[in-house]
């Protein structure tokens, strides 16, 4: 069978559209990325390893990864809760809350950064009461986690909401008629149904948090080995004109994002395949 690049279609404009797309993509994305890997390859493997495995770098990975995970987990639990409340209940101001869920997505990260820092600083609205019970929020890993929770908030909520809305209420009625309590219905029927969407949201929140810079860099305090996130480490190396170091760590981050991309795509595919109501029916058999 001959290899065809494109299936026959009678719509025009394919060549133009695809050509422009590939050109733009190459100029803006592919060529700069290639330059990065080119620069990185100038380093010997030993040099590369020395940079990316240095204690400071490893400490930054631990913080970035750990705080992102915590933030994403908090968003997983509370995101499902918020989605449930927004879909199933009505209360005064619900529409307002619903629209504002997207704020962390629309708000510039620097603004979020200084706002969160001011709130959780030792003399801030929440920072002071927390400090009085001995909890240091700003300038600590806790502050980083708080910022990363803020960043990821919309992802789980918006991922789960459409699934909850489309969910056939007859499923819950069936469970009730079979004697299930409300909690049993939720945990055995509703939760499995929204799980793919919730996990997809979790993965997206996690991926976003890993690379986050602006919201975190103010509240973290940026102490090396303690509250320095990986993106900041790159920034610091750049400021010191250590291009090799910055590039090496950037490559680590790039590779990690690419690795994350696959499970996220799979989760999203799983989630949207669940949404399809019925798959093709098996032809009727005579019994």
């Amino acid at each position: 069978m001959a290899f065809t690049f494109k299936k026959r279609s009678n719509l025009p404009g394919f060549g133009l559209a695809l050509g422009y797309t590939v050109l733009y993509l190459s100029l803006i994305v592919l060529i700069p990325l290639a330059a990065t890997f080119l620069k990185a390859s100038a380093l010997s493997w030993d040099q590369f390893w020395h940079i990316v495995a240095s204690p400071r770098a490893v400490a930054s990975y631990r913080l970035t990864f750990g705080a992102s995970l915590i933030g994403a987990l908090i968003n997983l639990v509370f995101g499902v809760l918020v989605a449930w409340v927004l879909v199933r209940y009505s209360f005064p101001g619900k529409r307002l809350f619903d629209s504002l869920v997207d704020l962390p997505f629309a708000l510039p990260t620097a603004v979020a950064g200084i706002a969160l820092t001011t709130i959780y600083a030792p003399n801030g609205w929440l920072g002071r009461p927390l400090a009085s019970v001995g909890i240091k929020s700003a300038y600590s890993p806790l502050g980083v986690a708080i910022a990363l929770t803020f960043i990821g908030l919309p992802f789980v909520v918006r991922s789960v909401q459409p699934v909850l809305e489309d969910m056939d209420k007859e499923l819950e009625e069936a469970a009730a008629s079979l004697g299930a309590s409300r909690w049993q219905t939720f945990s055995r029927v509703v939760l499995p149904t929204i799980l793919p969407a919730a996990l997809a949201g979790f993965a997206m929140a996690f991926a976003r948090a890993i690379g986050e810079y602006g919201s975190v860099v103010f509240i973290s305090g940026n102490m090396p080995m303690r509250t320095e996130i990986t993106p900041l480490l790159i920034m610091t190396k750049l400021d010191q004109f250590d291009y090799a170091g910055a590039t090496a760590i950037a490559v680590v981050m790039l590779v990690f994002s690419l690795i994350l991309l696959l499970p996220i795509n799979l989760l999203q595919k799983w989630s949207s395949s669940r949404e399809e109501k019925t798959s093709a029916l098996v032809p009727e058999e005579i019994h």
């Binding site: 009625e173 469970a175 004697g179 029927v189 149904t193 019994h287």
Partner: protein, 342 residues
């Protein structure tokens, strides 16, 4: 277990779904709620199930007032129109669900659940499909699983909402017969909702014909078909010929001109003859003959211009050797007079 609905009313916004409806279902009977969309039949079923609550009226199970009990506490088996099978569970797990969610004190052991599920799988003849997921089953198979799931919790009442509505004609026929057989075996009080009059008449012990939130007539299939009480019931349960006419000295008669009343005749209760019989009859011209099928359907025009539909057996048709544009005599066998026209 017997069911009694007394003076049930329910409104959705401005729309009155049920208007003071009362119905008694004796224990062990299979009753059909028959009516067009919007007649309130599904609403009534859901109120009996506890999935909706009536605005006023009472529901009694075996004399006990269950009006305010939730669906969970009523122990009814409900089969949904679109099956509502749990997509993420296998056939086995779907059927076992009701048993698994019982409170610990009354929950059967794993072996007992296993045995019960297999018993039901045998009943619905799907023993070798217990590990499949609903998406891998055909519509008819899914419906049977939904039924088995409802039966697993040994309900005292089985309620089915248009159970065969979304299936092919042939599958519908098979499942209809199968449901009837099942009921004969199990003898569980059952109520099912349908808009298909053939289905209601074929399967049920009794039919409740509903229209616009009210019950028009309740009776055995024979009763409601042969002795309909209202024009709606007459028209809904079979084809109708409508003529002007009225009761002349206690005898229903067809009149050419308007009399204020109407005469209803079923097509198979009109006989075609070549000669007048001396009794009541009228002349008509044959316009169309459709002989493809178990019965022959003849369309004719009466001498005063009213359209007439007649049904007869193939034998009769062969005897008569009718042809288009022939003039014949039509003898009505059984007439019913109502004041309203449909």
């Amino acid at each position: 277990m017997s069911i009694e609905a007394k003076n049930i009313s329910k409104k959705f916004g401005q729309f009155a779904a049920l208007d003071n409806v009362s119905l008694t279902i004796p224990s062990g009977e299979l009753v059909a709620l028959l009516g067009p969309s919007g007649s309130g039949k599904t609403t009534l079923l859901r109120i009996i199930a506890g999935l909706e609550f009536a605005d006023s009226g009472t529901i009694l199970f075996d004399g006990e007032d269950t009006t305010h009990r939730t669906a969970r506490d009523r122990r009814v088996g409900f089969v949904f129109q679109h099956y509502a099978l749990f997509r993420h569970m296998t056939v086995f797990e779907n059927i076992a669900f009701g048993l698994k969610v019982r409170p610990r004190s009354v929950r059967p052991s794993k072996e007992q659940i296993h045995a019960k599920v297999h018993e039901l799988l045998g009943l619905i003849q799907l023993k070798n499909l217990s590990g499949r997921y609903p998406s891998q089953l055909s519509g008819g198979q899914r419906q049977r699983v939904a039924l088995a799931r409802a039966l697993a919790v040994e309900p005292s009442v089985l309620l089915l909402d248009e159970p065969f509505g979304s299936l092919d004609a042939k599958v519908r026929l098979e499942l209809r017969r199968w449901l009837r057989q099942l009921h004969d075996e199990v003898h569980i009080t059952s109520v099912f909702v349908t808009h298909d009059q053939e289905e209601a008449l074929e399967v049920s012990d009794r039919v409740a014909v509903m229209n616009e939130g009210r019950i028009e007539q309740v009776g055995s299939p024979d009763e409601v078909y042969h002795h309909p009480n209202t024009p709606f019931v007459y028209n809904f349960l079979g084809s109708v010929n409508l003529f002007h006419g009225r009761m002349d000295d206690e005898i229903p008669a067809i009149h050419e001109a308007a009399t204020g009343d109407f005469v209803y005749v079923r097509p198979h209760l009109l006989e075609i003859q070549r000669q007048p019989n001396g009794g009541s009859n009228f002349r008509a011209v044959i316009k169309h003959i459709n002989s493809a099928g178990p019965l022959v359907k003849v369309e004719a025009l009466s001498e005063w211009g009213a359209p007439v539909q007649v049904e007869m057996s193939q034998e009769k048709f062969q005897d008569l050797q009718l042809a288009k544009e022939e003039t014949v005599f039509i003898i009505p066998k059984e007439l019913k007079v109502f004041h309203k026209a449909i």
